[in-house]
């Protein structure tokens, strides 16, 4: 019957089935049948040059489910095992709230600094020729390669009150939020540079020349012509840098000093709770971070979509 019915539906002949299928079900199958015909029509019109959509899409979904969706949903599942009252108490605990504020503030600041200086570095690396350019280009990736704990210890040594760099400042850098920001800038540096670099390389030279021939000075050309082209790449770099900074643990715990209410970041709170076998508490804090992060990244994406839409004019 199943085989027969699909055959019928595909031909849009439903008369024979009225007896067997109850009406709500029938309407579902009917619309399914219509979708099928639309899909086959679309297939005919628009044959892809490279086949394998079904296979690759299936793999993509499976892969993302195993790697991303299931682990993330575990966070929420675990959280649900505690009552709402308990959940609310855990996440509104003053020490936890202070850590959220610190984590988001430092991550956003670091991402912002990286966005500004990342564009500058990308500019220098694409626009000028100078000896040692390759080496500097390679240096940019170094923060990715270095174990973050090593970075943390190094930065702490340098920026501590008696350290090489720290001694020149009248205020403390290590063991304050400023130190955390420096560590986060360090680990997030490559994102904006690597996002902006190829875009800068590919900007059509004619546009800049056209701008100059129309009487614009260099500043006007940069602000009106080049910068708008870079916005999507900067936003992506900013988002990546921010997300990375928010989850950073290894380098920050060394330089932060980890004083409750002052320099204790959310990932550390989660770690502490885990060490005390408070799994529900840990996942509750994590769930809140996840939701806020999602909202921020979502906003950035909307922004990006909006700028992209404006400029391709679609």
């Amino acid at each position: 019957m199943a085989v027969r019915s699909t055959k019928f539906i595909n031909r849009n002949k439903h008369e024979g089935e009225d007896v067997f299928i109850s009406s709500p079900l029938k309407s579902i199958r009917k619309s399914w049948g219509e979708t099928m015909t639309i899909m086959t029509e679309a297939k005919r019109k628009n044959k892809r040059t490279i086949p394998g959509f079904g296979l690759t899409m299936g793999f993509t979904l499976l892969y993302l489910t195993i790697i991303v969706l299931i682990p993330l949903s575990m966070v929420f599942l675990n959280t649900f095992s505690m009552g709402f009252q308990e959940f609310w108490v855990t996440i509104t605990e003053p020490r936890v709230v202070a850590s959220y504020k610190l984590s988001f503030m430092t991550a956003l600041t670091a991402a912002f600094v990286n966005a500004v200086f990342g564009v500058l570095i990308a500019w220098v690396l694409t626009r000028y020729e100078f000896p040692g350019k390759r080496i500097i280009d390679g240096l940019v990736d170094l923060p990715f390669a270095l174990p973050t704990a090593v970075a943390g210890i190094t930065l702490t040594t340098l920026y501590s009150p008696n350290g090489w760099i720290g001694q020149f400042f009248s205020f403390k850098i290590a063991f304050t939020p400023a130190g955390i920001i420096i560590a986060l800038i360090f680990i997030g540096l490559p994102f904006v540079v690597r996002m902006v670099q190829p875009v800068l390389e590919n900007i059509e030279k004619g546009m800049e020349e056209a701008s100059a021939s129309l009487g614009a000075n260099r500043m006007q050309t940069f602000i009106k012509i080049i910068f708008p082209e870079l916005i999507p790449a900067i936003l992506t770099g900013f988002a990546l840098s921010f997300a990375r900074a928010l989850g950073e643990y290894g380098s920050v715990v060394f330089i932060a000093g980890n004083m409750p209410f002052k320099t204790e970041i959310s990932p550390l709170i989660i770690m502490t709770k885990l060490e005390q076998y408070d799994y529900e508490g840990a996942t509750a804090v994590a769930a809140v971070m996840l939701v806020i992060t999602f909202l921020i990244l979502f906003t950035i994406n909307v922004l990006q979509w909006w700028t992209g839409k404006r400029y391709s004019g679609k």
């Binding site: 004619g206 021939s213 129309l214 614009a216 012509i225 391709s312």
Partner: protein, 354 residues
């Protein structure tokens, strides 16, 4: 505004792109820089615009030295082959750009800008498109916007770098006629680069033919076509047939054929005959009749191109007849015919003796 190009020399690394270029362009002229790729025509245009600097020589606008002026201070309109429109701006903003970036003191008011842009949009027949973005326009429309954008700043000189190179044949033809009308209306001194000889001949007041970083000949389209001063120009303008041979006492001897070449020096020479300067006959009518066999007949609209093979040297010749001549002759592929050149130009091969 007149342009004088004085002894311009340009290197790219060790490659010499331009050698001692001298050129005078009168105010209000429309000039075509014509040459094969790599001939330096685009480099010359970019040096006139100030987008590139020459190693040597001067550029004078109205007899004033502009050599060291920045492109933004030259007040030239530049049109690029690939349009170079600002893709993050609407068509309106693209055209208004040159006016909007002016220093406050000389910037027109918002209303004046709007009026000017509307005028230009009418001129390029894109009134309804002002709120669109470049990506929503066809190639021909984009190039019209680029032209309007360049004209908005009321340039002293309009420079166009292969402006129609990326467009299809029909749009190209329309646009170049339109450019000519536009030029006659605005009377702005214009220079455009092209590798299409038909385009140059069709539009320009004078044609500058360039090759390997040098100017080969400057003249009106008729002058350069009818009186090419050297083999390169002859070869470059239109399809031409070569007869390698020897000049003896006013006759070019090539294969079994003798052609009259009264004004030529004796020696190893090459005769040039344009494809449309032949007569095809069934019988030999003199010593310059070349016995040949018809190899191919291509009908291309109003012109019929016939390829024949010379009987004596087995060399191919290309002949163009108009449709009427072709119909009258009733030629068939494989037929034996005699081909006679109507007009012959002989250049001595200076290289042959070396």
């Amino acid at each position: 505004m007149s342009i004088i190009v004085e002894n311009i020399t340009k290197y790219y690394g060790s490659y010499q792109a331009l050698t001692n270029i001298n050129l005078e362009i009168k105010s209000g002229e429309l000039i075509a820089l014509l040459g094969p790729s790599g001939s330096g025509k685009t480099s010359l245009l970019r040096i006139i615009a100030g987008l590139e600097q020459a190693e040597n020589g001067n550029i004078l606008f109205n007899e004033e030295n502009y050599t060291h002026k920045h492109v933004k201070d030259r007040n030239v309109g530049f049109v690029f082959q690939h349009y170079a429109l600002f893709r993050n701006m609407s068509i309106f903003d693209n055209i208004a750009y040159g006016l909007k970036v002016r220093p406050r003191k000389i910037r027109p008011s918002k209303k004046e800008i709007e009026q000017k842009v509307t005028e230009l949009l009418q001129l390029v027949k894109l009134e309804g498109y002002k709120d669109r973005y470049p990506s929503q326009l066809s190639g021909g429309q984009r190039q019209r916007v680029a032209l309007a954008r360049a004209l908005a700043v009321e340039p002293n000189i309009l420079l166009l770098d292969e402006p129609f190179g990326a467009l299809d044949a029909k749009v190209r033809k329309e646009l170049r006629r339109w450019l000519r009308r536009l030029h006659d209306e605005f009377n702005v001194t214009s220079v455009f680069v092209t590798h299409d000889q038909e385009e140059a001949m069709d539009v320009a007041d004078r044609v500058v033919i360039m090759n390997e970083g040098k100017i080969e000949q400057v003249g009106t389209p008729e002058e350069v076509y009818d009186h090419p001063i050297n083999p390169f120009v002859y070869d470059f303008l239109g399809s031409v047939n070569l007869f390698k041979g020897n000049v003896q006492q006013g006759k070019l001897v090539t294969g079994n054929v003798e052609m009259n070449a009264p004004d030529s020096e004796d020696g190893v020479s090459t005769g040039y005959v344009r494809a449309h300067n032949f007569i095809i006959e069934r019988k030999a009518s003199g010593k310059d009749s070349i016995a040949s066999i018809i190899d191919h007949i291509h009908t291309m609209g109003a012109i019929v191109r016939i390829e024949v093979i010379r009987h004596d040297t087995n060399e191919p010749l290309e002949i163009e007849l108009n449709k009427e001549q072709y119909m009258e002759l009733e030629l068939r592929k494989g037929e034996r015919v005699f081909v006679r050149p109507k007009e012959l130009k002989v250049f001595v091969d200076y290289m042959a003796g070396i």
